[in-house]
């Protein structure tokens, strides 16, 4: 058994930021990441981010990933990184089982920060499992990280920011985006992203969804249909579109299964993307010394994941006796940044969701 003060599960923006603030406070940590590189979802995002300067707005996601990774590599004695390593088991006494190169490794930690992010949702329709039907983020990885195209002709399902951004990036890579379809009666994402696509001649069909996919070994075509106000298909409005790729971008859901393993109190909150843990103002779950940060406790954005990471790293270090010399100032600053990010109409659902999981009962 290996002993650690702090294990951070997930090396995305939230996990990296937590490690940085823990190190600045004097606390060592181990980051465990199942991919072969650090950076989480950011490593494939070639677009410039929104938000404020503090969270690297106007910088491309791939470059933000580099900044965050460099930030932790500055502390080689304090932050240990294990990539290509998946956390497969978690126990209430804070023993963690890691799988690395076919070997199980057990680690006993004093505190744990779970920052496993979120995964893309699927959509139910006949033949939705055909090869050629992908999560939009997966296609983004294939194109922007591996430099491989998903196919020649694609339809995007979902007009949220991810659907719109990935459609644009598909066009940039030379793929023909035949249209974007959206079940709701209005476009979900920001107007700037939608306008960019429209300028390239891509139609965004609202009140439309996929009725079925066709193909034997791989996707060959899809049938789309108009929806009425109850999101039921309108008979007679079906249209067949020949495509070799279909991207599904209908939201993300938190990767919270590790939390369920140790009996953390959870709740299904649809505005946060799915099953999320109850947390207190310190991001501690109902199991003592088990904390969460980033999309795993509510799907938001990289900007909020970064600040939640900083905040949680700062707090956990202090709880283990490593109080940052500017603790109070930083604590106030991070809290204010989060409040700011969630202000305004776009943050309303998040604010309501977070109220639902605010924990006020005692920890186990």
């Amino acid at each position: 058994m290996i002993n650690k003060d702090l294990v951070i599960i997930g090396g995305g923006p939230a996990g990296l930021s937590a490690a940085k603030l823990a190190a600045e406070s004097g606390l060592s940590s181990l980051i465990v990441e199942r991919d072969f590189k650090l950076g989480g979802q950011l490593v494939k995002q070639t677009h410039m981010f929104f938000g404020s300067e503090k969270q690297y707005a106007k910088t491309r996601g791939i470059d933000i990933a580099k900044i965050l990774v460099d930030d932790v590599l500055k502390y080689p004695e304090m932050v240990e990184v294990m990539t290509d390593t998946t956390v497969v088991g978690l126990y209430e006494d804070k023993v963690i089982t890691l799988l690395h190169n076919d070997e199980y490794i057990k680690v006993q930690s004093k505190a744990i920060i779970i920052a496993t992010g979120a995964s893309e949702k699927v959509l139910a329709f006949p033949n939705n499992d055909l090869p050629g039907i992908y999560g939009a983020g997966a296609v983004q990885t294939l194109m922007n990280v591996n430099g491989v195209l998903p196919g020649n002709d694609v339809v995007m399902v979902g007009s949220g920011n991810i659907g719109l951004i990935v459609s644009y990036q598909l066009m940039q890579a030379g793929v023909n985006v035949k249209c974007v379809i959206e079940a709701s009666s209005s476009i979900g994402g920001y107007k700037v992203h939608a306008s960019k696509l429209k300028r390239l001649g891509v139609d965004i069909l609202t009140s439309h969804s996929v009725k079925r996919a066709n193909g034997t070994e791989a996707l060959e075509s899809i049938v789309i249909s108009k929806l009425d106000e109850n999101w039921d298909y309108i008979e007679g409005t079906e249209k067949t579109i020949e495509v070799d790729s279909l991207c599904i971008s209908v939201g993300l859901s938190p990767l919270s299964s590790l939390l369920s393993m140790i009996g953390v109190d959870m709740k299904y909150v649809s505005s946060l993307g799915g099953l999320v843990p109850y947390i207190d103002s310190h991001h501690e779950t109902s199991v003592k010394d088990v904390y969460v940060a980033g999309d795993v406790c509510g799907v938001e954005e990289a900007s909020s994941a970064i600040v939640e990471g900083y905040l949680t790293g700062l707090i956990v270090a202090s709880s283990l006796g490593f109080k940052h010399e500017n603790y109070d100032e930083l604590y106030r600053d991070f809290k204010a940044q989060l409040e700011n990010l969630r202000s305004g109409p776009f943050g309303e659902k998040t604010r309501e969701g977070l109220q639902e999981i605010a924990r006020n009962h005692d920890v186990k």
């Binding site: 055909l130 090869p131 983020g137 194109m143 591996n146 430099g147 890579a173 070994e217």
Partner: protein
């Protein structure tokens, strides 16, 4: 199909890596995952559903959905979307839940 020109990214040609896919000698490039190398060759079918044997390709690319599981160097259930390609790998399409291996 590989991207050759891109307004933001540059994809320099990297070293070729030879590997075996279902008995055929094929190749990918350094930095490829097994799934991306196969995809670049036009191979989209990576696994099969367990009962109905329906073809499956990759879906999440983050190692979460098991839709890309293949047999790699005799080991079944390898998530090929998060496994880097290595020279000489032997990759096979998987048709069952996976057998025990040494």
């Amino acid at each position: 199909m590989r991207i050759t020109e891109h307004p933001i990214l540059t994809f320099e040609k990297k070293a070729k890596l030879q590997f075996v896919f279902d008995g055929n000698e094929v190749y990918g490039y350094e930095g490829d995952t097994i799934a991306s190398a196969l995809h670049a060759m036009g191979v989209k079918k990576l696994s099969h559903s367990i009962h109905l044997k329906r073809p499956r390709g990759f879906y999440c690319a983050i190692g979460n959905c098991a839709s890309c599981n293949m047999i790699v160097d005799e080991k079944p259930n390898v998530r090929t979307c998060v496994t880097l390609l290595k020279e000489g790998m032997v990759v096979k399409t998987q048709l069952n839940k996976g057998d025990l291996y040494d």
